[in-house]
C-alpha cells in the first residue's frame, strides 16, 4: 500500500483524522456556505453576514417559502417524471445489447462498441439541431416529458452498454455454454442466467444514470420551454433570474435541487463508485 499505512499507530492516526477533518471542511466550504445561507434571514444577508452563524435562523421559513411560493415542487416532480423512466429504459436497452456484445460472437462487435464510445464522447452541440428538429417535426413531442425521456434513454444507453459489457464479459463462459447445450434459448439465458448474476452492475448503472439525467441542464434548455415540463436544473436557473439577490431563497433551491442525487449517492455509494471506476480497472 502506498503511502505507508498509518492504521494502528494511535498518534499518527489521530493526526490524520484531524487533517482529514480540516481538509474536508475546506473542500466542502462552498457547500457549507450555501447550506448556511439557505437558513439566513434577508436582514442578516443585507448586513453582509456570511460566515457567522445565522442570528435569526429561518431554516423552515426559507424552505417553506421556496416550496410554496415558487414552481420548485413542480420542477422536482418533473425531474422525477423524466429521470425514473429514463433509468428504466436505459437499463433495459443496454442490458440486452451488452449481453449480445459480450456473449454472442458476430462480426463487427468491436466496431459497434467503438461507435458507442465515439457517440458518447461527442459534444451535445453536435446533436442539438437535428434532435430538436426531430422532436418538433417528426415526433411532435417537443416540450413534453417524453422528448427528454427518449433522448436520455438513447444517449445513456451508449454509456451503459459499455459499462454492463465489462461486467457481463466476466460471467464464466462455461455457465452459458452448458445452458446452450441443454437447449436453453439465448433470450432465456440472458434472462435467467446473466441478469441475476449482474445485479450489482445494474445497480451501479442505475445510480449513475439517475445522477447524469437528473443533473442534465443542456437538454432541458433545448427540448423544453414551459414550466409544466421543465426539470429542476433549468428551473433553478429561471428562478435565479427571478430572485436576483435573494440569496437565501436561491441557496435553499440549490440545496433542494441537489438533494435527490446526493441522497441516492449516499444510499448506494458502493455501487456508484464501482460503476464510475470499472472503466479504469478494465483497461
Amino acid at each position: 500500500m502506498f503511502p505507508a499505512p498509518i492504521a494502528g499507530q494511535p498518534g499518527k492516526e489521530n493526526a490524520y483524522r484531524i487533517a482529514l477533518l480540516v481538509s474536508l471542511t475546506v473542500w466542502l466550504l462552498p457547500i457549507l456556505a450555501v447550506a448556511l445561507t439557505s437558513m439566513r434571514s434577508i436582514e442578516d444577508l443585507n448586513k453582509g453576514d456570511i460566515w457567522s452563524l445565522p442570528r435569526h435562523p429561518k431554516l423552515i421559513e426559507n424552505y417553506a417559502d421556496v416550496l410554496t411560493n415558487s414552481a420548485m415542487p413542480n420542477f422536482i416532480f418533473n425531474s422525477f417524471l423524466i429521470t425514473v423512466p429514463s433509468v428504466i429504459g436505459t437499463l433495459a436497452l443496454s442490458a440486452m445489447a451488452a449481453f449480445v456484445l459480450a456473449k454472442i460472437h458476430f462480426p463487427g462487435r468491436a466496431v459497434l462498441l467503438g461507435v458507442f464510445i465515439a457517440g458518447n464522447l461527442a459534444p451535445f452541440q453536435a446533436l442539438m439541431i437535428p434532435v430538436r428538429q426531430f422532436t418538433i417535426e417528426t415526433l411532435g413531442i417537443y416540450d413534453t416529458h417524453l422528448a427528454l425521456i427518449l433522448f436520455h434513454t438513447a444517449f445513456q444507453t451508449g454509456f451503459c452498454t459499455l459499462l454492463l459489457h465489462t461486467f457481463i464479459r466476466r460471467v464464466p463462459e462455461a455457465l452459458i455454454e452448458s445452458a446452450r447445450l441443454d437447449g436453453v434459448s439465448e433470450v432465456r439465458i440472458f434472462y435467467k442466467v446473466v441478469l441475476p448474476l449482474i445485479r450489482p452492475a445494474l445497480a451501479a448503472a442505475a445510480v449513475l444514470v439517475f445522477t447524469f439525467v437528473w443533473n442534465d441542464f443542456f437538454w432541458s434548455l433545448v427540448l423544453v420551454q414551459s414550466d409544466d415540463v421543465r426539470p429542476v436544473t433549468a428551473g433553478l436557473q429561471s428562478l435565479r433570474g427571478m430572485w436576483l439577490a435573494s440569496w437565501h431563497l436561491i441557496s435553499a433551491s440549490a440545496i433542494i435541487a441537489a438533494a435527490p442525487p446526493v441522497t441516492v449517492f449516499f444510499l448506494m455509494q458502493r455501487h456508484f463508485i464501482t460503476g464510475l471506476t470499472s472503466g479504469a480497472l478494465s483497461e
Binding site: I31, I50, M96, V100, A122, I129, E186
Partner: protein, 305 residues
C-alpha cells in the same frame, strides 16, 4: 405414416436449424432496440449536423448550399477565435485536475474507520449538478456578496469581482469546473492505488525507496493506464463545458469568457444561424475526437510495449 427414424431425424434438423438461428435471431432481437435508439438520437444527428454545416439556414426557410462558406467565416470571426482560445485555456487549466485528484487520492488511501465516508464527501462535488456548482461559485465570486473578495480583503488586496472583468472571468469559471473534475480524478486514482501490486511496493521499500522516489519510480508507472484515462476524461469535459459558462457568465462580459459550446448555442437561439452553429459544433466535435483518438492510441501503444 412416416417411419419413426425418419421423423426423429427431421426433428433433429429442425432443432439444429432452430438452435443455429436462435442465436442469430435473438442477437438481432436483443441488440436492435439499443442500436436503433442510439442511431436515431445520436449517430444520425451527428452526421446531419456535419451536413448542415455546409448550408446557410435560419431554421425555418429553405436551406442554401454554400460549400465551405461557414468554415471560411469562422476563420475570420473574432468571437469564434476567442472562444477557441478560451477552449485551449480550459484544456491547459484542466491539467490541474489530475494533479489535485492524485494528491487527494494519495491522502485518502488509508484504511481507518470512517474513511469510506470521507471519500464520499470528497466525491460530493461530482455528484451535484453543474448548475448548482455554477450558482454556488457565481455567488462565491460575485462582487456584492462574494466570499472570494472577503478572503482577498483579509490579505489587504483590493476586491477583484473576478467574473465581472474581461481578463479574469474565464478563470473564475474554470475554477468552478476544476472542483468537481478533481473529485472525479480522485476517485479514478483511488481505484488505481487500490489495485497497485503490493509485492512491487514492498520490494521497493526493502530497497529503501520511500516518499517522492517511490511515487515517481514505482507508483506512477503502475498508474500510467489510469493517467491516460484521467487525461482523456479531463480533455473531453474541458472542451464540452457548457453548463458552467451559461450559469456563471453567459459568455460575458463582452464574450470574453465564451467557449465554442456556448457560442454555438448563441448562434442558434439568438441569431438563428443554424448552418453556422452546425459548423461550430462540427469543429468542436473534431477537437474532441482528436483528443480521444490520441489518448486511445497512447493507451494501446503502451500495452504493446
Amino acid at each position: 405414416m412416416t417411419p419413426v427414424s425418419q421423423r426423429s431425424s427431421r426433428l433433429e434438423t429442425v432443432l439444429a436449424w432452430r438452435s443455429r438461428h436462435d442465436r442469430v435471431l435473438s442477437a438481432i432481437l436483443l441488440l436492435a432496440p439499443a442500436c436503433v435508439m442510439f442511431f436515431v438520437f445520436v449517430i444520425w444527428p451527428i452526421i446531419q449536423t456535419f451536413r448542415l454545416s455546409f448550408y446557410a439556414w435560419d431554421g425555418v426557410g429553405a436551406k442554401r448550399w454554400i460549400g465551405a462558406g461557414n468554415y471560411r467565416e469562422l476563420l475570420n470571426d473574432p468571437v469564434f477565435l476567442h472562444a477557441i482560445t478560451n477552449n485551449v485555456i480550459w484544456l491547459l487549466c484542466y491539467g490541474l485536475a489530475p494533479i489535485v485528484g492524485l494528491a487527494i487520492a494519495l491522502f485518502l488511501n488509508q484504511k481507518i474507520r470512517g474513511i469510506r465516508v470521507a471519500r464520499c464527501l470528497f466525491l460530493l462535488p461530482f455528484v451535484i449538478s453543474q448548475v448548482v456548482v455554477g450558482v454556488v461559485f457565481g455567488w462565491f465570486f460575485s462582487a456584492h456578496f462574494g466570499l472570494f473578495d472577503k478572503i482577498v480583503a483579509a490579505f489587504d488586496l483590493p476586491p477583484m469581482a473576478l467574473l465581472d472583468h474581461e481578463n479574469t472571468a474565464v478563470f473564475g469559471v474554470i475554477a468552478a469546473g476544476l472542483w468537481p473534475q478533481s473529485a472525479y480524478c480522485m476517485i479514478l486514482y483511488l481505484a488505481g492505488l487500490t489495485a497497485l501490486k503490493p509485492e512491487l511496493i514492498d520490494a521497493a521499500r526493502l530497497d529503501g525507496a520511500e516518499g517522492w522516489t517511490m511515487l515517481r519510480h514505482v507508483v506512477l508507472p503502475q498508474l500510467r493506464p489510469i493517467t491516460y484515462l484521467v487525461l482523456l476524461v479531463c480533455c473531453v469535459s474541458a472542451l464540452r463545458n457548457f453548463d458552467l459558462v451559461t450559469i456563471m457568465t453567459g459568455g460575458g462580459p463582452y464574450n470574453s469568457s465564451t467557449v465554442a459550446a456556448y457560442y454555438m448555442f448563441e448562434q442558434i437561439f439568438l441569431s438563428f444561424r443554424y448552418g453556422y452553429g452546425a459548423a461550430i459544433a462540427s469543429v468542436l466535435f473534431g477537437m474532441i475526437e482528436i483528443c480521444v483518438i490520441y489518448f486511445l492510441w497512447q493507451m494501446t501503444r503502451r500495452e504493446h510495449d
